[in-house]
Symmetry: C2
Subunit: 319 residues, 2 copies
């Protein structure tokens, strides 16, 4: 069966849509500013399960995933819309009020204005489309396609936490204030990811980042997207991948933890490339250097203790 990625490539080619394929669309706004636009569709049973979250968390996440796309372009988020298809059972009761509470709390904290949306009945499950608009200085949006051979590869924060949270959910753990702190942290990483808008501003200072993407599908897949768009390869060092500290508590093997960090997805950290010269300008505590861009177009090599092996993108795919 064709993949979602193949499908989008096909549509792009057929209709000459060269612009499509980054985290946001980039459109001219005024003499000094470009407009960023992104849309993310969240479908019950695919992107979330109602019994795994609470309405406030879901509202937060719906907005956060699109804010993360604006961060991935090096932009600042300005406004948002949310369209929601609601099963009749959720129309009664407080679900929607609580959903918007969560959405709005994040919007308020990050200075994002709700400007519109749509609401419809849904005979199937809950469906949410999250649309965010942002801004970036003209021509300064950080695309996936400008990584250069020799650039370093970096990530913000740590990886695998959202996948660890998903594992807890799969094991029947549900968010509760009484849970141990490490479980709450993993669950919150999965259920209420934080968009890296502040870090995005740091890495765009002084044109530091050459290419950027947010880690939604998983490090292996999202790095492959950068390599594909930039026609480069990558070599990353397993030892340097920042693995979420709470994963220790899950008592996994080192390989299993590395797998969550490489392929787990939904951490919504930023993955970016930058020249070695520029990196010294940014605070290294905020970022981890995990590897280097190579000339082996399309090939991602993973260095472990024993060997260097070819990494196959294994992050999330809808089809």
């Amino acid at each position: 069966m064709r993949s979602e990625f193949d499908f989008i490539q096909n549509i792009k080619k057929k209709f000459g849509l060269d612009q499509i394929g980054d985290d946001c669309a980039v459109l001219p706004k005024d003499a000094t500013t470009d407009l960023l636009i992104t849309t993310d569709l969240l479908v019950e049973g695919v992107d979330f399960r109602l019994d795994w979250t609470v309405p406030e968390f879901l509202g937060h996440k719906a907005l956060a995933v699109s804010l993360s796309d604006v961060a991935a372009m090096g932009g600042e988020a300005r406004w948002a819309l949310v369209s929601i298809g609601v099963p009749e059972g959720l129309w009664v009761g407080d679900f929607l009020d609580r959903f918007y509470e969560g959405w709005h709390a994040l919007a308020k904290e990050l200075g994002v204005e709700m400007v519109g949306g749509d609401v419809s009945r849904s005979p199937g499950g809950l469906v949410i489309d999250s649309i965010v608009g942002g801004e970036v200085a003209t021509g300064m949006a950080i695309l996936r396609s400008h990584a250069h051979v020799g650039d370093l590869i970096l990530v913000t924060g740590d990886l695998g936490g959202a996948a660890g949270g998903l594992r807890l959910l799969n094991d029947g753990v549900r968010y509760d204030d009484e849970l141990p702190g490490w479980q709450k942290k993993l669950l919150r990483k999965q259920l209420t990811p934080w968009p890296q808008l502040d870090n995005a501003l740091v890495v765009t200072l002084d044109d530091t980042a050459t290419a950027m993407i947010d880690i939604s599908d998983g490090l292996s897949s999202d790095l492959a997207h950068i390599c594909e768009a930039s026609r480069v390869g990558a070599r990353i060092d397993a030892k340097r991948i920042p693995i979420n500290a709470q994963l220790e508590k899950l008592e996994l093997t080192e390989d299993a933890k590395l797998d969550l960090a490489l392929n787990g997805g939904e951490d919504f950290e930023l993955l970016f490339t930058a020249s070695k010269e520029k990196i010294s300008n940014i605070d290294e505590e905020l970022f981890s250097v995990i590897g280097e861009v190579t000339a082996n177009a399309g090939m991602i090599e993973l260095i472990t203790n024993d060997e260097t092996r070819i990494l196959t993108p294994a992050g999330y795919r809808h089809f």
Copy 2:
């Protein structure tokens, strides 16, 4: 059960979202231009049925309903995104290619650029979110809230055709090139509505229109939205409502035809108000004067041969 309208009012009030509630959000773009943004969620089984349409028509309609929102603000459409949640059964085969063919044919004809979107799996039915961006001169967006007492009330085109098409679909008629012309016209009015972007430019010339909305829910409901937003009333004359000519063939009573025109919805014609003085500036063949704005806030009166009665909004509601 609370209505969709009450729900939106509640959200607006709770979060201080005074801007929400027109066909598009209006945001400053540059020194001379405002940006218009709209999103419309189309859900299978609620907003469309796959066995009632063909993929190209559905692609057309998904874009058209959002373009119509830009027209309703007096704007020009510029770009669009489409997010689509796809059941597995539609992922194979040519459904999606044909959907995008239809979408793209309309976009091309109206000079609208596809700039992005999202695609997800859907365990329920097909779900489409259509997002369109447009432009209007700064401060010149035509809101629902600026109708004045004494303004005339006008519509573009004719009404009831989309509802007539829906009636044919309910009776088992399906679109086919071999159908009689009148049936094809009614079905196309329902399945491939045409956004009134050209007429929107005409009625905004010389500041003619004071308030405007597109007829999506139905004349009675959409006129009520203008009255509510403008804190005015309306008196319309049944004889002056332009009823779709093809409805003759359905052999309905005069009352039944009037009902389709008043409450049928989805004609995506423009409903607007304008001062009597300005109306002479526009081509009367394009528009029908159907009544007048009154001071009876919230009350819509319908003049028929026999009587003047209070019209209750009876257009489409999701809940």
